[in-house]
Amino acid sequence: MKISGTLTSIFLGHVPLLTMFLLITQFSVAQSDANMISQTCKQTPYYNLCVSCLSSDPRSFKADVRGLALIMVNIVKAKATMSLHFINQLIQRRPGLKKPLSYCADNYDAILTADIPEAVEALQKGDPKFAQDGANDAANEADLCEANFHGKSPLTKFNKVVHDTSATASAIVQQLL
């Protein structure tokens, strides 16, 4: 009884120690994951965008560079989907812009049906250079869409975010090559 009592008190006494241990290690783990995101984003052209995009996805805190690339590609996909949705609505409301808008719909369709699947598959299957092709092309498609409007684009915000996130994804993939 006496011995078990002592052992118990030793273990119990360690609980606060353990708790502090766990808290501190978690803190340092979180610090170093934030560092991973920061180091990865430092090698991309839009640092703040990169950090805020990646930080907004909880999976990024446990991800390696390849995981971060996949997260970024997913973000491009989400932004491109939103853009295409908006374009399709605009086509109804602005008949005068039908021609450039329908070109843009083609651009975004290509991003969603070709570039993104190619990038995802390349990252998952381990041949990242094809992911870079897909990301680079996505940025180009956004630029081409914007250029259609000769400066009077109703899609500038969308095109810019798709361009910038694609460029970011490309730069993250570059780190895998």
Binding site: S28, G126, A167
Partner: protein, 653 residues
């Protein structure tokens, strides 16, 4: 008596003999106290170890950081819109606006280019290997077997972009007229479920074929697998069997699971073993690993890599082969001897170009030493200065030559690829040999069988092209051509031209508009009548100190198309022109591909162009000379090229 308090603040160092208690009183150390203290110590050590580990992983991330920030899509940047009007430059009164070369660049429409079916379908080639539709990339396992040339390739059966990769297959009697066969290998095993990737064939002395290829497993690990013909008596090698014990190689310790691919053809050593190489990287150094085997099933990793070059990144599609010093004929992959040099080649993942270097192979010690370390693999010569990647040679025992295949990707947008339903070509197979005259170059030349496509020819003898002028060449058509040309520069001007310090590079120059006293001069390929679209292929000569001439060979895509979503870079490199040699070039034009060879193949450039006007019957060919002073005399022979009628093998499934 109060229990000893084992709870100690973490920041304080622990001493096993420390027996002071919070209340300041002392007690002799007891067993229970020691137990408590030791377990506390243990926890602290755990904690410290964890901290160090975090630091360690941060450091390894740091070491990956020495990369340049990726520049976006440099190969696909659209050209800035520029002024349309030709500005006549240089030569004075006599030269009219029409005759003088358009200089600084045409206006490419800033509107998204509305590609129509007519323009897109024109892009398909007549005599270059391509599947009927969808995406292709690396050449795989080329070989000659029982009367047929076999060609396999990375193929996506579902889309015009990379993905779902399997092995396509085709056969030919002559490396030119290809017949498509059913897919050779599918992604149907766990060890190649995520991709049946690149590999090479080895022909054994008894005539049997073994194929080694990379599989991306169901967990995306890169492994090497063995396959062989299901029926060696079938000359078409339709069916392939994968060895039941695959994979035969997995990434060794110290090599990343995604940095281990593209096994080479094996060569036979004097110790009676077969030897293969597999490209990889360690840190930022690309390397070629070596394995020995006797049965292609069990392998021994050699302690030393064949070669490696710091800073070059991952080496894909490594190739290693002998060339004869005398240059004439090809050598079997296992050949060796004093009259033999060895080529090491790698495809650099980092910049998507194929590099090679010449050197000496010491088979006994299994080391290869470059002739000139300053132009080592990955930092020196390229096979081709345009689009040419993942290339692979094989020894053609039928004709005793070494033949080079190269993957030619697209340089338009993926939207266009998806619209037209296909992407990528293979270059016309080239013979490769050592340039016996310089000793430091390889010569590449289209296989002679391509000449069987030549139809009627036009000859132009000693045409004088004055400075700043363009000469139309009267041809029936200009989209499928084999052009052989030689040029001579005005000797007097050559002698009297002042020396210059110009540091020239095709890529950073103004293209064909970049003039000096002696050039550029060459041909305008896939041009329309108004020259709004044209692709110059040309020489640019500079006179450096001591009067030494330096010649560059370039292809200028900046005006190749009115569309704004195609690559408009200028490709090219230095080309050695020896004393007494004329400037010679050969160009194969086949719709959207232009393959150019200077000085018998010392420097080559493959370009993909996508004109919108210079297509079908509107395509033209011109001679041009944009030099400021020198006359150029050109002699050419130009053949119309027939189609190769590449199609499915009749009556096969």
């Amino acid at each position: 008596m109060a229990d000893p308090n084992p709870f100690l603040p973490i920041s304080q160092p622990l001493h096993p003999t420390d027996t002071s208690l919070p209340d300041g009183s002392h007690r002799p150390p007891s067993k229970k106290l020691l137990l408590g203290v030791f377990s506390g110590l243990f926890l602290v050590f755990l904690f410290l170890a964890l901290i160090n580990d975090q630091k360690g992983s941060q450091q390894s991330i740091h070491s990956q950081e020495d990369e340049n920030v990726a520049s976006l899509a440099s190969s696909k940047e659209s050209a800035k819109p520029e002024i349309l009007r030709p500005i006549s430059r240089g030569v004075s009164a006599g030269v009219s606006e029409k005759a003088s070369l358009i200089s600084s660049g045409s206006e490419s429409s800033t509107d998204q280019y509305p590609w129509n079916n007519s323009m897109l379908s024109w892009q398909r080639t007549a005599f270059h290997f391509q599947p009927e539709k969808n995406w292709m990339n690396d050449p795989n396992g080329p070989l000659y077997y029982k009367g047929w040339y076999h060609f396999f390739y990375q193929y996506n059966p579902h889309a015009a972009v990379w993905g779902d990769i399997v092995w396509g297959h085709a056969v030919s009697r002559d490396l030119i007229h290809w017949l498509h066969l059913p897919l050779a290998m599918l992604a149907n095993q766990w060890y190649d479920q995520n991709g049946v990737w690149t590999g090479s064939a080895t022909i054994l002395p008894d005539g049997n074929v073994v194929m080694l290829y990379t599989g991306s497993t169901n967990e995306s690990v890169q492994v090497q697998n063995l396959a062989y013909p299901a029926d060696p008596n079938d000359p078409l090698l339709l069916e392939w069997t994968k060895y039941s014990g695959n994979p035969v190689l997995v990434p060794p310790p110290g090599i990343g699971t995604k940095d281990f691919r593209d096994p080479t053809t094996a060569w036979y050593t004097s110790e009676g073993k077969w030897r293969i190489s597999i490209g990889s990287k360690v840190g930022k150094s690309g390397i070629a690993l070596i394995y020995d085997t006797e049965d292609f099933i069990n392998y021994k990793l050699q302690p030393q890599a064949l070669h490696g070059v710091p800073g070059t990144g991952m080496w894909e599609c490594v190739d290693f082969y002998p060339v004869s010093r005398k240059g004439e004929h090809g050598l079997d992959t296992s050949d060796d001897g004093p009259e033999v040099k060895h080529v090491v080649k790698a495809s650099l993942d980092d910049d998507k170009h194929d590099y090679f270097a010449l050197g000496t192979y010491d088979e006994l010690n299994n080391t290869w030493t470059p002739d000139n370390p300053e132009i080592d693999v990955g930092i020196g010569l390229r096979y081709d200065y345009g689009i040419f990647y993942a290339s692979k040679t094989f020894y053609d025992q039928n004709k005793g030559r070494r033949v080079l295949w190269g993957w030619i990707g697209e340089s338009d947008s993926e939207v266009a690829d998806v619209k037209k339903g296909w992407a990528s070509l293979q270059g016309i197979p080239r013979t490769v040999s050592l340039d016996a005259k310089t000793g430091s170059n390889l010569l590449q030349w289209p296989v002679e069988e391509v000449e069987s496509l030549r139809l009627r020819s036009s000859e132009f003898d000693k045409v004088e092209v004055k400075p700043g002028s363009v000469v139309p060449l009267d041809l029936d058509a200009a989209t499928q051509l084999d052009i052989v040309a030689e040029f001579e520069l005005d000797k007097k001007v050559l002698r009297n031209t002042a020396e210059s310090n110009e540091e020239f590079s095709c890529r950073t120059s103004k293209g064909a508009a970049h003039r000096n006293a002696l050039g550029p001069f060459g041909l305008l390929v896939l041009a329309d009548d108004s020259l709004a679209e044209h692709t110059p292929v040309y020489f640019y000569v500079t006179k450096g100190s001591n009067g030494t001439l330096k010649t560059f060979f370039c292809t200028d895509q900046s005006r190749s198309s009115a569309a704004n979503d195609v690559n408009k870079q200028i490709y090219g490199n230095f080309v050695p022109v020896l004393e007494g040699e004329k400037f010679t070039l050969r160009i194969l034009v086949d719709h959207s591909i232009i393959e150019s060879f200077a000085q018998g193949g010392r420097t080559t450039i493959t370009s993909r162009v996508y004109p919108t006007r210079a297509i079908y019957g509107s395509a033209r060919l011109f001679l041009f000379n944009n030099a400021i002073e020198a006359n150029v005399t050109a002699s050419l022979k130009i053949w119309q090229m027939n189609t190769a009628f590449i199609r499915p093998y009749p009556n096969i499934r």
